[in-house]
Amino acid sequence: MTSTELPAQLAEIREDFLALEQSDRLQLLLEFSNELPALPERYQDHPDLFERVVECQSPVFIVVEVDQDRAVHLYATAPAESPTTRGFASILAQGLDGLSIDEVLAVPDDFPQTIGLTQAVSPLRLRGMTAMLGRTKRQLRERAAALTA
């Protein structure tokens, strides 16, 4: 895996983290946490459309959407009492937004381990983010298969 394979917006997030000292990385994660995009109105009263990321220690729900232009959007909810998990969801929601199906599927599975948080955050939590990415890709494969069917 080389960084050139990473879509520009994900690469930028990674560079932003790696440029910082450990304690400032947590601060940046908090900023992401606070910026987790709100759900579009069409999803707000539809918990049934969301998939729970059971690997996360707190209740996190995601739904993946492919729009008319075949661009990918990831929507996620996570409680305010779980800012770390919210931060991870926000990184993926913002980092994947608008990419093509192939670009998202090509994101390395170990992306969460490469953004410089392995020392600041416990391994259990990073696994939660890895699971979030894995479930996103699985949902996307299902969506993509439905589109070509």
């Binding site: 059971v54 996360c56 220690q57 009492e81 800012p83 770390t84 955050v121 259990l124 939660g128």
Partner: protein, 300 residues
């Protein structure tokens, strides 16, 4: 300088009432000379989202663990850490956190390894403070550094190692994990990722008492009578024998350790922090699966 203890009637029934303070007490004493408030959470970003005014943060993951060996930091590192947080050897330290003080109790236990005398928990922790609508701030941590002496850890009284557990058979062992982890269906708590142990089950003869049974819905500790009913009547602890508690990495069992030692006054309680991530991967140690405790092997 030691700050007066909380005289609440609710705490008076506990063996060591000086180990707890109420939210009212803390509100009144914020800023008192000699008092340092510490937040220690499972979610390492919670402090930054808002904390009790003046509180400092201690991160269980990055601050208290040795970064290389699986062990706690040594005396020099502890002195540097807490000195930076404005804690002196005579400070009254009040710790609070999320998840019914699960991690706060862990931090308190580590402070105790270093023999810090006056360390207390905020009953109800972060949840109760917020539920009561009390003030929080997102101010960056600021503390006047203090000189803390280098004191070497004294593990023996309250910390058990694997060999100690093998020699302890025949005396009470308490498994504080979830029923699913105890019976061997999982190696980690429900909703947590599977991680860290090669075998599932429990240490033979260990009784299952999930840690959270000691916590009420508002995150405070249950009353003396309720705790006695669980640990003395149901489990049969008499206080005459040494007790070892364990969980997955020793954090949930710190909560139980606090309950047994400080609230019920049972002497000689040790926390086995190697816990299931060590036992469940160790070679040639006995394991029982299912809901029965199983019989204790001969001590070795």
């Amino acid at each position: 300088m030691t700050v007066e203890t909380d005289p609440s009637a609710r705490f008076a029934e506990f063996a060591h009432p000086e180990r707890l303070v109420s939210t009212d007490w803390l509100q009144e004493h914020l800023g008192a000379p000699g008092l340092v408030v510490v937040e220690s959470d499972e979610d390492v970003l919670l402090y930054e989202t808002g904390h009790i005014p003046g509180a400092v943060k201690i991160d269980w993951h990055t601050d208290l663990n040795d970064p290389v060996q699986r062990d706690y930091i040594d005396g020099a590192a502890f002195a540097a850490l807490v000195g930076r947080k404005g804690i002196g050897r005579d400070s009254t330290v009040v710790i609070y956190g999320d998840k019914s003080n699960w991690w706060a109790a862990y931090a308190l236990w580590v402070f105790t390894l270093f023999g810090h005398t006056d360390v207390r928990l905020l009953d109800g922790g972060r949840q109760k403070w917020l539920a009561e609508g009390r003030e929080v701030t997102t101010d960056r941590e600021s503390a006047e550094p203090a000189a803390y002496p280098v004191v070497e850890r004294n593990d023996a009284p309250i910390r058990a190692f694997k060999e100690d557990v093998l020699g302890h058979f025949g005396h009470p062992l308490i498994d504080v994990r979830s029923p699913e982890e105890y019976s061997g269906q999982r190696t980690t708590a429900p909703a947590y990722p599977e991680e860290g142990a090669l075998r599932a089950g429990h240490i033979p003869s260990a009784v299952s008492v999930p840690w959270a049974r000691a916590a009420a819905d508002d995150a405070t500790f249950r009353s003396r009578a309720e705790l006695d009913a669980i640990y003395r009547d149901e489990v049969g602890l008499t206080g005459d024998e040494p007790v070892i508690a364990y969980c997955r990495i020793g954090e949930r069992s710190s909560h139980t350790w606090f309950v047994l030692q400080h609230l019920l006054g049972i002497e000689n309680v040790q926390n086995y922090d190697g816990s299931w991530t060590e036992w469940g991967s160790a070679v040639r140690v006995p394991i029982v699966q299912g809901t029965e405790a199983g019989t204790a092997p001969a001590p070795r």
